[in-house]
């Protein structure tokens, strides 16, 4: 268990972790903090699902700050495989080495052992996460795992169960201490149950009004209390319009930043109209917001809060 390891920072309870994440700039609610605490304590990967822009990736970053473990990020995409995720041989250098061996009179057979040595191994995030190291264990972020395909999921499941990668030419690399793992998904498709079952699951929702105000105050430089409240309220109302892409926290932060960049300290309908592109990124959504009466919406948000 984490508490028994002198190299790890242990947290006495959920509240302590919540405070530490807070200090690292991430405001987690009780549910998320509990899930993160359990992930550290039970050494289980944490599977975070939610709309784009609710701050899933930020959790891993904050966790890296809090634990002091290096952040290793693996961005998934369709077609990602072992070579991009775990390891690859540096083939170009291998060929060169082979040539050089030949030129100096050595035989290819001699060169073979050298070719598949650590020297020519290119380490990718998954392998790096499992390798022995001093200090805190790294935080492995497997971002947008829903974009990868089934073959990769199966491979990931194997690694997350065994905490090992086997390289046929070198042998198995097994983690003495498993890394902290955070997987995120935007739910473009359902990730396989077997993989989710390996993990603790948490659905990340848009933050509640007061929490979003706090986040804006922290994350958007130069944003005052009044503007933060207005932007959070307006973003909350925009989310209820049934848009194609409802604004996430990331967009709200951008929006507040855009208002500040224009030298304004308040969100009035006119400012909102000219900065709408920071928060709504589809033409249809902007249309819909205008059709729904953007000015009234902003006025109501400014007056009524969340």
């Amino acid at each position: 268990m984490a508490a028994s390891d002198p190299q790890e920072r242990a947290f006495a309870g959920v509240e302590e972790l919540e405070a530490a994440l807070d200090a690292a700039g991430y405001l987690a609610d009780e549910g998320l903090a509990t899930a993160v605490f359990l992930a550290l304590e039970l050494r289980r990967p944490l599977f975070l699902e939610g709309e784009a822009g609710v701050g899933k990736t930020e959790v891993a970053k904050a966790l890296s700050t809090v634990t002091g473990g290096e952040l290793l990020r693996l961005q998934c995409y369709e077609g990602i495989g072992l070579a991009q995720a775990a390891y690859e041989w540096d083939y170009a250098r291998q060929l060169l080495h082979l040539r050089a061996t030949e030129a100096t009179g050595g035989s290819a057979r001699q060169a073979e052992d050298e070719l598949y040595s650590e020297r020519f191994l290119v380490r990718r995030p998954l392998l790096l996460a499992l390798e022995e190291r001093s200090g805190p264990v790294p935080v492995l972020l497997v971002d947008e795992v829903d974009r990868a395909d089934d073959e990769f999921e199966a491979f990931l499941l194997e690694i997350l169960s065994e905490w090992a990668v086997s390289i046929p030419e070198l042998g198995t690399i097994r983690a003495a201490r498993p890394p902290v793992v955070v997987l995120t998904s935007n739910r473009t498709r359902d990730v396989h149950d077997a993989l989710k079952r390996r993990c603790l699951y948490h659905w990340v929702d848009h933050p509640a009004f007061e929490r979003e105000v706090e986040i804006l105050r922290r994350r958007a430089p130069g944003v005052g209390e009044a503007l933060a409240r207005q932007v959070a309220a307006a973003a909350g109302r925009l989310r209820r319009l049934g848009l194609y892409k409802p604004p996430g926290v990331a967009e709200a932060i951008d929006w507040a930043g855009a208002v500040v960049a224009l030298g304004r300290s308040e969100l009035d309908p006119k400012t909102a109209t000219v900065t709408l592109g920071a928060v709504l990124k589809y033409q249809e959504d902007q249309e819909r917001a205008r059709a729904a009466g953007l000015e009234t919406l902003i006025d109501a948000a400014v007056e009524g809060g969340g």
Binding site: L42, W89, L95, L98, E112, D190, R197, Y244
Partner: protein, 383 residues
Amino acid sequence: MEAEAELERLVVALATALRAAGVVVPVGAVIAFARAIGALAPTEPAGLYWAGRATLICHREDLEAYDAVFAGLFGSLPPPRLPAARPRLVTVAAAGEGAVPGADAAGARLGAYSHSERLWQEDFARYGEREWDEAKLLIDRLRAPLQLRSSRRLKRARRPGRVDLARTVRQALAHDGEALLSSYLVGGERPRRLVFLLDISGSMKPYARAFLRLAHAATAARGPRQVETFVLGTRLTRLTRPLSERDPDEAFEAIGRTAPDWYGGTRLGDGLAAFNSGFGARGVARGAIVVFVSDGWERGDPALLGSEMARLARLAHRVVWVNPHQASPGYEPLAAGMAAALPHVDDFVAGHSLGSLEELIELLGQPARVVAGGRGGSRVAIR
């Protein structure tokens, strides 16, 4: 020890109640829950609530059931921060037992199928139970063909593409260090996803079960990640998970538990908007072949249906509209919804009988065509 035993009972009670509510809870999840409680040592229901949520649940769709079960056991939700109090333990009746009304009674009787032309051409609306019992087994055998799209995952080839360096090194070793450039990698292919959107309004009643059955056959054949199914009633319900039960009867029973609002009114535009903004935008429809089954009777605003169809058409590779009433003699797509949707449809076909289902399946294997006045404005006539 007393407390531990109680905790154990509590864990099991929660898991049992969740299972009774239709949530899949494997033993591994229960063990994880017990360990989580051990690590957390919760003194209030809130800790228990979040620990259970993180370990027992792994689908957002199940969160509602979890909340209901938790509230049923502990009497409140969301759990307020309370002073340390022992959660009350409530006995949960194992629901669902013996509640399966003659599930397999129908399947057993049927031995031979009749391939009679009459059954093949008969409108689903004129089916009796006997015909349906026969037809559903025939639908089970209809297999949607694969359509491929190019993929970023590379595969080996002899024809020149990107040099496969890994193999080149191995070959060089085998040939005394002589590097022969003869191994290549080229772009691979992946099957396109198939998405069924089924209108389950009252006017679609005679046809909905046939298409659900068809969707099940496709899901069983290709797996739930290749085939997605949604029904549009007064709201949008995703049926992909229940339909991934291999046995059709079990799948339909599972659908019953998700309780879509069968055969009420439908606002297609709103339902489609919900699909587009949710699953569609997140990628379910992206590059997919979408089969939209509806008679196009829109109770809401046809303009909304039109604009949502346009969005769907932009997301999807191909949109096939199946209208069971299309086969009626003298049918013209006059329903306002149908007229608004048609310009954004690639194929417009009938779907009233087994024969027309077979034609639909055949069509899905062919490249996209364009209907008159539809996408691209070609002159191809409506089937």
